[in-house]
């Protein structure tokens, strides 16, 4: 009962979605749209579970009083402040349970926290990639064997494609780089995508048929 019903649900909805793909009729589209709407709604309930988990882990750390126990307080403070800003707002001369108004977000603090805390941290985290791409290249691009050498040479050629100090070999490098990016790149990506596609299809089928049930907690 505890395992059979979920497996049956998986089978029924999986088969339905496969047939739905071949039926263009309106009724089939309606059901499809309903199902996708449902999933979004369930996702929000799950988010409540997530927030609960975040709070519990933070509280546990604070209680344990291990080193760095103060930081989870910042997490919780940020969380509750932002929830407060997100759920209350000022509209038409009074504070209340608002979010959007015709002019935009009803609570300016929500906007400020987004613009001046989330955005700078987010873009700086993203910008860390510039450093990590350099350090990864330095650390890993060693011509140890054929495969590593191919990786290294291809990367070097592409990185040199617009270098102005190469003299007569410059144009050759640029042509080679664009060939590498257009030809072998296409072939390899297509091979991977076909493989990934087959893997996805096979895994989906195994899920629908109840062969793969690792996601239910048993292998």
């Amino acid at each position: 009962m505890r395992r059979q019903i979920p497996l049956m649900l998986v089978f029924i909805f999986g088969i339905f979605m496969i047939f739905q793909y071949f039926v263009p009729h309106e009724s089939s589209e309606w059901i499809y749209e309903f199902l996708l709407d449902w999933i979004y709604i369930i996702g929000i309930f799950a988010l409540a579970l997530g927030i609960w988990s975040l709070i519990r882990v933070s509280v546990a750390k604070i209680k344990a009083h291990k080193s760095g126990w103060g930081y989870p307080i910042i997490t919780l403070a940020g969380l509750f402040l932002m929830i407060l800003f997100g759920f209350t707002g000022y509209r038409d001369g009074s504070w209340g349970f608002y979010f959007m108004t015709a002019e935009g977000l009803s609570n300016p603090m929500f906007r400020h926290f987004f613009d001046y805390i989330m955005i700078p941290i987010q873009s700086t985290m993203f910008a860390l990639l510039a450093f990590f791409i350099a350090s990864a290249a330095y650390r890993a691009f060693r011509a140890r064997n054929i495969m590593a050498s191919l990786l290294l040479v291809a990367a070097l050629v592409v990185m040199l494609r617009f270098n102005p100090y190469l003299g007569p070999i410059g144009p050759v490098i640029a042509d080679t780089a664009s060939w590498l990016l257009n030809v072998p790149n296409l072939a390899a990506k297509r091979a991977i995508i076909i493989g990934v596609g087959l893997g996805m299809v096979a895994t989906s089928l195994k899920i629908i048929l109840g062969i793969e049930r690792g996601y239910l907690g048993k292998g």
Binding site: F131, A137, Y138, R142, N163, P164, G170, N182
Partner: protein, 288 residues
């Protein structure tokens, strides 16, 4: 630990430090890097450079502000080149969010034309760029494919008036200018499918010389048109724009960006080479 081991196992913080210093310095200090110019950009420059004063270049600014970083440098470089050569320019903006941005670009370029400048050893005196005499800004109309087709008959069909509401017949430089036949070439700067319309409905039907300025990712898809001679030139991305600036001897936004890129790439390549030299030398020592 000998020097080769050290070259191999340098603390990555040195990599970080050198990279950030190089990026910041090359960004702030305005020195020039040479840019290697490729044939497809050179042909656009040469085409415009050899036009006689008074001839008309049609510049289609068909991108939104979100593609501004890559395409604005091209717009600035090409349009300033045209004005310096005393060519006349017709500008359209067929992308919905583009007209305001295009107008601002024209005004900025007009401002910089007030100054005396020397390019490629030739002194160009500053002059005032006048709307209606040096350029006509036609603005935006929906259904770009239809607009491009209509302009093949007469510019006055899709644009009875220009962006500012002046009838085209009252604009001095539009006197006797009916359609693409009176235009020396069309330069389309675009980040989307308007390019395809220019190729198939514009060039494909009215046979005017067409050059493209595209974003970096789009570039590769349009090389076949170069081979089939449907377009006579192509600039792709920041690098394409930097090449035009290089030809025009007028360094701008693109060359600023490329300066950082060239040196940042060199730093990374340098570290890769260092690691490998250390690796090979270290292995040779071991064999001995």
């Amino acid at each position: 630990m000998n020097i080769f081991d050290r070259m191999m196992s340098l603390d990555r913080r040195w990599v970080f430090l050198l990279l950030v210093v190089v990026c910041a310095v090359t960004y702030i200090v305005p020195f020039q890097v040479p840019i290697r110019v490729e044939g497809e950009v050179r042909s656009i420059y040469d085409f415009i450079d050899t036009l006689k004063p008074g001839e008309i270049v049609f510049i289609a600014i068909d991108y939104d502000p979100n593609a501004l970083a890559e395409l604005h440098p091209m717009c600035y470089a090409v349009m300033e080149h045209c004005f310096r050569k005393n060519l006349k320019v017709i500008v359209t903006a067929l992308s919905q969010n583009g007209p305001g941005m295009a107008e601002q670009a024209i005004l900025n370029i007009s401002d910089s034309l007030m100054l005396d400048r020397e390019y490629n050893g030739v002194l160009y005196e500053g002059r005032e760029i006048r709307n209606g005499e040096d350029y006509a800004f036609l603005g935006y109309k929906p259904y770009f494919a239809l607009v491009i087709l209509g302009m093949g008959q007469n510019f006055r069909i899709p644009f009875p008036t220009d962006y500012y509401g002046t009838p085209l017949d009252s604009i001095p430089m539009m006197q006797g200018v009916q359609n693409y036949d009176q235009v020396a070439c069309v330069v389309d700067l675009s980040a989307g499918n308007i390019t395809d319309a220019w190729i198939s409905y514009g060039q494909g039907r009215f046979y005017f010389p067409l050059a493209l300025g595209l974003t970096g990712v789009m570039g590769a898809d349009y090389y076949p048109y170069l081979n089939s001679r449907q377009i006579f030139g192509l600039m792709a991305g920041l690098y394409g724009a930097a090449q035009y600036e290089e030809m025009a001897n007028n360094p701008g936004l693109a060359k600023d960006g490329m300066r950082v890129q060239v040196y940042a790439h060199l730093v990374i390549i340098l570290f890769i080479l260092m690691g490998n030299i250390g690796y090979f030398m270290g292995r040779r020592d071991e064999k001995k």
